[in-house]
Amino acid sequence: MSGKFFEEFSQDFSKNLWGAPQPLLQVEGLSKFYGARRGCADVSFDLWPGEVMGIVGESGSGKTTLLNCLAGHLAPDTGRVLFDTRAHGMQDTVTMSEPERRMLGRTDWAFVHQHASDGLRMNVSAGGNVGERLMAVGARNYGDIRERATDWLGRVEISGDRIDDRPTAFSGGMRQRLQIARNLVTGPRLVFMDEPTGGLDVSVQARLLDLLRGLVREMGLSAIIVTHDLAVVRLLADRLMVMKDGQVVENGLTDQVLDDPQHGYTQLLVSSVLQV
C-alpha cells in the first residue's frame, strides 16, 4: 500500500506545485538606476502560483525599488517582468500598454502599502473602499456590492456595523486589514506587499500575519512581501531573496536562508537579529 501511495505522490511532484504548468511571474534581468546610482540590478527569479516570496534587506538595499518595478509603479531601465495573464498568457508588463497594466493593477494584482493611508481612500467609508475595485470592473448593483463588502470586512475581522465608518475612525491594525480587504475583493492572483506589518504594535502584527497566512492559503495567492523583519518572512514566506546594494546576494527556501545562510551579508543580517 505504501509503495503505491508514494508513487502517486511522486507523480504529483513531477508536475509543478498545485499542478501549475508555468510560473505566474518571471522576472528577467531587471535593473533600475537613478542616474548613476543603482536602485536594483540584474534581478531574475520565477514566482509560481501559490508561492509567497519575501524580499529582505536593509533600508536602501533596493527592495522597495524592485517591488515598485514589479508592480508597474516604476519603469525599469532594463529587463522583463512576465506575468501569466488570464486572457493572453505570458505578457511583459514592462512593455504592455498603460491601460492594460492599470487593468491588471485593479484585477489580478493587488498592492498593500505600508501606510494604510496610501492604500485607502480616507474620506470614503469602509464599504466604499472595499467596493471600489468591484465598481471599477463594472459592478453596478448596490446590494451586491454591499453584500460582498460586508463579507470581506468579516473575513478581515472587521465588524459589519463599521461598514459605513471612514478609515479615519479606525485603529492602525484595522486600517491595514481594511486595506487588505479592499485589495483582495476582486480575487487577485498576485499580491505585492510593502512592509505590511511595519508600524503596527507587535500584538496587532501577529493577528495580521495569521490573517494573511490564512488568506494566502485559502485563495491560493502568490505574494511578494518586502520587509526588513526576518520574523515576518519566516512566518509568511516560502522563499526568501536577500538584497544588498541593489543586488540579490542570496535566494532560496526561507528557513534555509535564515538557518543556513550562505552569503556573508545574510549571515551578518541573521546574526544581528535580537533574540527574544
Binding site: 471600489e132 475595485r133 468591484l134 465598481m135 470592473v137 453596478r140 448593483n141 448596490y142 446590494g143 454591499r146
Partner: protein, 293 residues
Amino acid sequence: MTTQTAEAGQSAYNFAYLDEQTKRMIRRAILKGLAVPGYQVPFASREMPMPYGWGTGGVQVSAATLTPEDCFKVIDQGADDTTNAVSIRKFFERTAQVETTTRTGEATVIQTRHRIPEEPLREDQVLVYQVPIPEPLRFLEPSEVETRKMHALEEYGLMHVKLYEDIARHGAISTAYAYPVKVEGRYVMDPSPIPKFDNPKLEMAAIQLFGAGREQRIYALPPYTQVVSLDFEDHPFDPSKAEHPCDLCGAEDSYLDEVITDDAGSRMFVCSDTDYCLARRDAGHEGAQGARA
C-alpha cells in the same frame, strides 16, 4: 452718465469685449469640445471684468459664440432678473450691442447658471453653461494628473464610489445637483450644478457649451448627444422634484423654488424658470396663489 459711457464703450471695446485672437482660441477649444463630446478641453482663460465664480467661463464662451445678429438671454437659477443675470446681459449689451431678451423662444444664445430652461430648445439655439468645477472626479481624487489619466483610460469606478457613499449614508442617491453623466458611453461629465431634474433635458436639439473660467476648461455636447445619468441597477436615477404644482402658474412639470413668505414659515412653490412661469400666466394658467401675485 448713461449715454456717454455707452457710446464711449462702443468705441473702446472690441466686439463682445475679447480681442479676436482670444475669441479664435476659445472657438478652437469649443470645436474640439464638440468633436469629443464630454471631454474637458483646456483653454487659456482670460481675466474678465468680473470676479471668478460670477460666470467668467460662461462669459468667455458666450463672447466667442455671439455674432451681431444674435439675440442673447441670461438666466441665473432660472431667473432673468437676478444680479448675476442682469450684469452679464448688460455686459454684452454694452460690449457687443446684441439684442437681448428674457424669452427663451426668442433667444439664439442663452447663458445659464445652474438651470436648463423648461421650454425645449431648438437646433438653432446655443446653451452656454457657467461651470464652477468641471472635474466630476475631483470629489474623490484631488490629483489633476490622476483624474486626467482616469478619463483617458475610462477608469470611472470612482464615480460610482461617490454614489455608493450617498446611498450608504442617506439610503438613496442624495446627489441632487451636478449629478454626473456619461456622454456617448465614453466620458463622464459634470453637467454643472443644474438640478438632477434637468439631467434628462441634456439630450436636446441645441448645442450645449460649458465654460469653466477659473479652471480653464471648456467642454461641449453636440445636438442629440446621448447623455446617461449614472446610477445603480437597484438604485436607478430618479429626476425627482418637489411634489407640488407651481403656486403662480399651476405648472406640474416644472422645477420649483421654495419661497418662504413670512416669519411664520408660510411658503410657496414657484417655477424657478421665470420666463416659463410668466408665459404660462400670460396664457391664462393660474396656480393656487396666482391671483394674489
